[in-house]
C-alpha cells in the first residue's frame, strides 16, 4: 500500500486535463505513443472526443519507477469537468488522496475549477498545482501563479510548470504525485468498504462498478452487499483497470479496480454507494452518498411514434451507466407517447439526447426543458410540476415556488457591467463580489434555475468574450409570480409548447415565441394563426399566410423517377413532422424557446 497513489485531475474544460493524462500514460509506458495516435485515451466515448471534454469518469492504473528507485502503482481517476456533474466529481475525489489542479496559463482560474478545488480541499486531498500550456504566446505564468497562490496558499516553487503538448514537466508531475500525495490508508483485514465512483453497463456482463477499496479485501465469489439498495450479489469478477479490465481476483484496501457483481439492473449499483461483504459487513456506508437529483426536465419523444418501445429500451440501457438519468412515460396531444426525463443540468440533457441519437440511433423530438415547480393549491395540496402542461388551473393555485440557485461567476473586471445586466435581466438577486486578483472578480447571485437553463451560459460567454465562467448549486425553492403560457395553432393548444414564465415577462415571451414559431413552422396549404395565451386570455398573435405555390411546373419528359424521388423526400419530411389539428409542426419548433433571441 505504501507504493500506491490514488489521484485525480481538477481542471476547467480545455485547460488540458486529457492531454496531461495522455502524457502520463505515455511516460509510464501504459500506452505507447503509437497507441495514443492523435486521440486522447481517457475520453473513450466518441462524444467525449468530439467535444473534447470528459463526461463520464474512468480510472486507469500506471506503473511508475520513481527517482527513489522504487516501483509505484499510480491510479488516475478521471473526473467530469462540467457544472452538471459536481456530485460525480465529489465521488471520484473521495476515492483519491491527492489531486492535480491544472490551470491554463493563458486563461487563468475559472469558476468551475474553484468549486471543484473546494470540493477537493474539503475532502482533505493534497493539491498539486500545475500551470499548463506555458508554451503559448499568450501565457501569463506569473499572473496565474499568483491566482493559485492566493487560492490555495501554496508557495511559488510548489507550482509545476508544464506544456503537455510539448511534453515539458511530465516527470515533475509524476515525482510530485509520488512524493507529495500520501499513500492510501485502510486495513485490508477490516470488514470490506468499497466506494463506487462510477458504474458502466455491459450488454453481456451487466453492471460493472468501478470502486476504490477504503477498507478490507474483496475476492471473487464473495457475497457482497450494496448499502443504498440493500441488494446482495456474488462478485463474479474482480480486477484492476489498465487500458482495459485486468482480472486479478482480488482487491484490498487502497486499491482502485472493478467488480462485476452480476447485477442486471444498474439501479442496484449506484454511484456513491458502498460495497461491503454480506457475511462480514462494515458498520455502515462510507459518508457522502446522495441520490442524484434531477434539476432539469424535458419530454423525449420518438419522431416516429412506432418507435416508442425502442426509445424505452434505449433509455433503460442508458440509465444502466447513468444513474442520474430518470424518466417516466408521458403522452402529449402533439407528440404522442414519449417520456418525461429528468437531468442534472442542460449539458447532461444534451449529452443524453446525443447519445440516444448516435449510440442508439433514436430519432428524437426534445421539448423545451424546464425546472420542477412546487405548486401549493388553495386546498393545501402540494403538487410537483415537471411538465408545464400539467400545471394546475390558475384558479386553484395559492402559490408557485421555483428552484433558486446560488451562482458563482468569475469574470474579468471589464465585463462586470455586462454580466450584472445579464443577471438582472434573468431575475438574479445580487449578493456580493470578491476579487481574486486585480483583474478578476467573483460575483455571487441568487437566480431562478429556470433562467439559466435556457441560453444563459451562451449569453454569459458572448457578453464576456468567452472569459466569464459559471458554477452553481441548488439553494432553495422560492415563491414567484409564475404563469403558464400556452401556444395555440389555429385555435388548438399545443401542449408540448406550453412554458411556465414570470408574469412580468409573459407578454414579451408570448410575442417572441409567436414570432419564432412563425419562422420555424413552414407555410401550409392554409393560413396558420399562432396565439399565445394565459388561461383564456390571448396575449400575442402572429400568423403564417397560406402557401402560395408549391409545384414544379417543368418539362421533365419521361424522367418520372426524378420527380418521384422529390415526392418521397417530401413525404418523409412530412412524416417527421407532428400534427396538431391540421397544422404540421417541424421538430425544431418544439425547441423554439431555446433559440429565442433576446
Amino acid at each position: 500500500m505504501e507504493q500506491v497513489r490514488n489521484f485525480c485531475i481538477i481542471a476547467h474544460i480545455d485547460h488540458g486535463k486529457s492531454t496531461i493524462a495522455d502524457r502520463l500514460l505515455e511516460r509510464t509506458g501504459t500506452v505507447t505513443a503509437r497507441e495514443m495516435k492523435t486521440n486522447q485515451v481517457l475520453d473513450d466515448m466518441e462524444l467525449e472526443q468530439e467535444r473534447g471534454i470528459t463526461i463520464k469518469l474512468h480510472a486507469i492504473q500506471m506503473k511508475y519507477q520513481a527517482r527513489d528507485g522504487k516501483p509505484y502503482t499510480l491510479n488516475l481517476i478521471d473526473t467530469p469537468g462540467h457544472v452538471d456533474f459536481s456530485y460525480e466529481v465529489s465521488r471520484s475525489l473521495a476515492a483519491c488522496e491527492g489531486a492535480l489542479l491544472v490551470v491554463d496559463a493563458s486563461q487563468g482560474v475559472e469558476a468551475q475549477t474553484i468549486s471543484n478545488l473546494y470540493l477537493a480541499i474539503d475532502a482533505g486531498l493534497e493539491i498539486i498545482p500545475v500551470i499548463n500550456k506555458i508554451d503559448l504566446p499568450s501565457a501569463m505564468v506569473d499572473t496565474v501563479k499568483h491566482q493559485i497562490m492566493d487560492l490555495i496558499g501554496c508557495k511559488d516553487e510548489e507550482i509545476i510548470l508544464t506544456s503537455a503538448k510539448m511534453k515539458i514537466g511530465v516527470d515533475e508531475i509524476l515525482e510530485a504525485v509520488v512524493t507529495r500525495i500520501a499513500p492510501p490508508k485502510g486495513d485490508p483485514d477490516a470488514p470490506l468498504a468499497a466506494l463506487i465512483f462510477d458504474s458502466i453497463f455491459d450488454g453481456y456482463r451487466g453492471s460493472i462498478v468501478y470502486v476504490r477499496v477504503m477498507a478490507g479485501t474483496i475476492n471473487e465469489k464473495d457475497k457482497i452487499r450494496f448499502f443504498a439498495t440493500d441488494k446482495v450479489f456474488e462478485a463474479e469478477e474482480v480486477g484492476i483497470l489498465d487500458m482495459r479490465r485486468v482480472r486479478t481476483g482480488t482487491l484490498s484496501a487502497g486499491d482502485v479496480g472493478y467488480i462485476i457483481p452480476g447485477a442486471r439492473d444498474v439501479h442496484d449499483t449506484k454511484v456513491g454507494d458502498t460495497v461491503t461483504n454480506a457475511a462480514r459487513p462494515a458498520d455502515g456506508p462510507l459518508p457522502g452518498y446522495k441520490e442524484a437529483k434531477p434539476m432539469v426536465f424535458a419530454g423525449l419523444y420518438p419522431v416516429n411514434s412506432d418507435n416508442f418501445a425502442d426509445l424505452r429500451d434505449s433509455l433503460e440501457k442508458l440509465r444502466m451507466n447513468d444513474a442520474s438519468l430518470i424518466f417516466e412515460p408521458e403522452s402529449s396531444v402533439a407528440l404522442g407517447f414519449g417520456f418525461r426525463a429528468g437531468f442534472l443540468g442542460l449539458l447532461h440533457m444534451e449529452i443524453i439526447q446525443e447519445r440516444l441519437e448516435r449510440e442508439y440511433e433514436q430519432e428524437l423530438i426534445t421539448t423545451v426543458p424546464n425546472v420542477e415547480y412546487r405548486v401549493v393549491k388553495l386546498n393545501g395540496d402540494v403538487v410537483l410540476v415537471d411538465n408545464p402542461a400539467f400545471m394546475p388551473e390558475a384558479g386553484d393555485i395559492e402559490r408557485v415556488e421555483e428552484p433558486i440557485i446560488k451562482a458563482q461567476i468569475i469574470v474579468p473586471t471589464e465585463y462586470i457591467g455586462n454580466i450584472m445586466k445579464l443577471c438582472t435581466d434573468r431575475r438574479g438577486v445580487y449578493k456580493n463580489t470578491t476579487y481574486i486578483d486585480p483583474t478578476r472578480a467573483d460575483l455571487r447571485y441568487e437566480m431562478p434555475l429556470s433562467e439559466i437553463i435556457f441560453d444563459f451560459y451562451d449569453k454569459l460567454k458572448s457578453t464576456s468574450r468567452g472569459y466569464a465562467s459559471l458554477d452553481y448549486e441548488f439553494f432553495e425553492n422560492r415563491e414567484s409570480d409564475l404563469v403558464k403560457l400556452d401556444i395555440l395553432l389555429n385555435g388548438e393548444p399545443v401542449d408540448a409548447l406550453s412554458v411556465i414564465v414570470h408574469r412580468e415577462r409573459s407578454y414579451e415571451w408570448g410575442k417572441k415565441l409567436c414570432a419564432k414559431l412563425r419562422k420555424l413552422i413552414p407555410r401550409q396549404m392554409f393560413e396558420v394563426v399562432i396565439q399565445a395565451a394565459i388561461g383564456s386570455k390571448i396575449i400575442a398573435r402572429d400568423s403564417i399566410s397560406a402557401m402560395r405555390k408549391n409545384v414544379i411546373a417543368k418539362c421533365y419528359g419521361g424522367d418520372i423517377s426524378r420527380k418521384r424521388k422529390l415526392l418521397e423526400k417530401q413525404k418523409e419530411g412530412k412524416r417527421r413532422m407532428k400534427q396538431v389539428g391540421r397544422v404540421e409542426i417541424p421538430q425544431e419548433a418544439f425547441l423554439a424557446v431555446l433559440a429565442m433571441e433576446e
Binding site: M525, K549, V551, I560, Q570
Partner: protein, 393 residues
C-alpha cells in the same frame, strides 16, 4: 388477397405504348437547360447509325401497336428530314405503329424553314412542337436562344403553310425580373399564332447550369414565389378564356388536341426511349440510358444496350407516381386506387380530401378527385400531404 388481376396497373399499361428518340445536339446550349446535349454537330452521322442499331436491339419488345413517336432533345430539328424519314421507316419496320399515331418533332425556330418543314411532314411527322420560350428579344438573348421572336412567328406560319395542323408552342415564365405585362404579351402573341397546344413552364434553376452559376454569383435573381404564383395564375386565366383546356400543370390544348405522347408519361403507359439519356418504362420497370454520347456510341458498338440504370417500381412507388402524376393532370380515381393497390386514400387522408374541396383546391365527383387551378398551384404539396398519411401494407 390482392386486388383483382384485370385492374392491376401492370396489366392496364400494356394497351398502348410510345416511342421516344433523344437527339442530343444543339447549335448552342441554352443557359437554363439541363437535358443532355452537346454543341458539336460532327458526330451526328455516327449517332444516327448507333440509334438505328439501338432500335434494332429492341425489336422483340412488343407486337402490340405503338401509338406515339416523339423526337425530343437537344434539337431534333437539326436532323436532316431524310434522316428523320429513315428513322421512322426503321421504327415502322421494327414495331407495329398504329395508323393514327401521333408523330411529334421538337423544333427550334432558328433551324427550320418552310421547305424543311414540308419535307419533315412528307416523311411522316404530323405534329411539331416549337421551343419559342418568349416573344421578347431581350428575353431570348438572356436565355441564349439562337432565334429571334420574328423567326419564331415565321416558323409557325411556315409550318402551317407546310400543311401541319397540329402545332405546339413552348413558353417559359418567371424569368428574372419578368413583369405581368411582359408575360401577358407573350401569352397573347402565342394565342395569336393559333397553335393547337401551348406548354408553359416556370423557369427552374437546375444545378450545374450556367443559369445556376449566375444565380449563385448574384448576377441575376429568381422571381419571388408570389410573382411566380401570380404569373402562373394569369397563365391559366388567359389560356382557359382563350378556349384552351388545361390537362396538366403546364400543358394546355384545344379540345381533342392534347399531346398523347406526354399524356402517356402521366398514366403509366409503356414507352421505350432511344438515344443518350432517354428514359423508358415497361410494365413496372423503368430504365434510363447513359447521358454521354461517346459512351453511348461505345456501348452500341460493342452490341450492348446503353442502359445507365434501372428500377423496378414497388407497388408503393407506383401508387406514389399515380397519385402525383394524376393530381398534376386529370385527377385520380379513388376507387381505382383502392382496387389496384388495396389502399383507401380516404382512410388516412379523408379529412384532407374534404378540406381541399371545401377550400376550393379540388373537385370531387364520385370516385374522381382532381385539382382546380388553385389546387394546381400547390399540387406537389397536396401529393406529399395525401401520400404521407397512407401506408401500403
Amino acid at each position: 388477397m390482392g386486388p383483382p388481376l384485370f385492374a392491376h396497373p401492370l396489366i392496364r399499361a400494356i394497351l398502348l405504348a410510345g416511342l421516344y428518340l433523344h437527339i442530343p445536339f444543339c447549335e448552342h446550349k441554352c443557359i437554363y437547360c439541363d437535358f443532355y446535349s452537346i454543341e458539336s454537330l460532327d458526330p451526328i452521322d455516327s449517332f444516327v447509325a448507333a440509334l438505328k442499331l439501338e432500335i434494332a436491339m429492341q425489336s422483340g419488345r412488343s407486337a402490340d401497336p405503338f401509338e406515339t413517336i416523339f423526337f425530343g432533345g437537344g434539337t431534333p430539328s437539326l436532323l436532316a428530314p431524310r434522316t428523320v424519314g429513315e428513322i421512322l421507316e426503321l421504327l415502322h419496320a421494327t414495331f407495329t405503329i398504329d395508323a393514327g399515331a401521333e408523330v411529334t418533332l421538337e423544333a427550334n425556330p432558328g433551324t427550320v424553314d418552310e421547305r424543311k418543314l414540308a419535307e419533315l411532314r412528307s416523311v411522316g411527322i404530323n405534329r411539331v412542337s416549337f421551343g419559342v420560350q418568349s416573344f421578347h428579344e431581350d428575353d431570348l438573348k438572356f436565355l441564349t436562344r439562337i432565334h429571334s421572336a420574328d423567326q419564331a412567328r415565321d416558323s409557325v406560319r411556315a409550318a402551317r403553310r407546310a400543311g401541319f395542323d397540329n402545332l405546339s408552342l413552348d413558353l417559359i415564365f418567371s424569368l428574372p425580373g419578368q413583369t405581368m405585362e411582359r408575360w401577358d404579351a407573350n401569352l397573347r402573341s402565342a394565342i395569336a399564332l393559333e397553335p393547337e397546344h401551348i406548354s408553359c413552364y416556370s423557369l427552374i434553376v437546375e444545378k450545374g447550369t450556367p443559369l445556376a452559376r449566375m444565380v449563385e454569383s448574384h448576377q441575376v435573381s429568381t422571381l419571388p414565389v408570389e410573382s411566380d404564383a401570380r404569373l402562373y395564375e394569369h397563365t391559366m386565366d388567359v389560356l382557359l378564356s382563350a378556349g384552351f383546356e388545361q390537362y396538366e400543370i403546364s400543358n394546355f390544348a384545344r379540345p381533342g388536341l392534347r399531346s398523347r405522347h406526354n399524356s402517356n408519361y402521366w398514366n403509366h403507359t409503356n414507352y421505350v426511349g432511344f438515344g443518350p439519356s432517354a428514359h423508358s418504362y415497361w410494365n413496372g420497370r423503368r430504365w434510363w440510358n447513359i447521358s454521354n454520347l461517346r459512351t453511348y456510341l461505345e456501348k452500341i458498338d460493342s452490341g450492348e444496350l446503353p442502359v445507365a440504370g434501372e428500377e423496378s417500381l414497388t407497388s408503393q412507388q407506383l401508387l406514389d407516381e399515380e397519385v402525383m402524376l394524376g393530381l398534376r393532370s386529370g385527377g385520380i380515381d379513388l376507387d381505382g386506387i383502392e382496387r389496384r393497390y388495396g389502399v383507401r386514400l380516404e382512410d388516412g387522408s379523408g379529412e384532407e380530401l374534404l378540406r381541399l374541396v371545401a377550400d376550393g383546391m379540388a373537385v370531387r365527383d364520385g370516385s374522381h378527385f382532381r385539382l382546380t387551378c388553385r389546387g394546381y398551384l400547390i399540387s406537389d404539396e397536396v401529393s406529399g400531404s395525401l401520400l404521407s398519411r397512407v401506408e401500403m401494407v
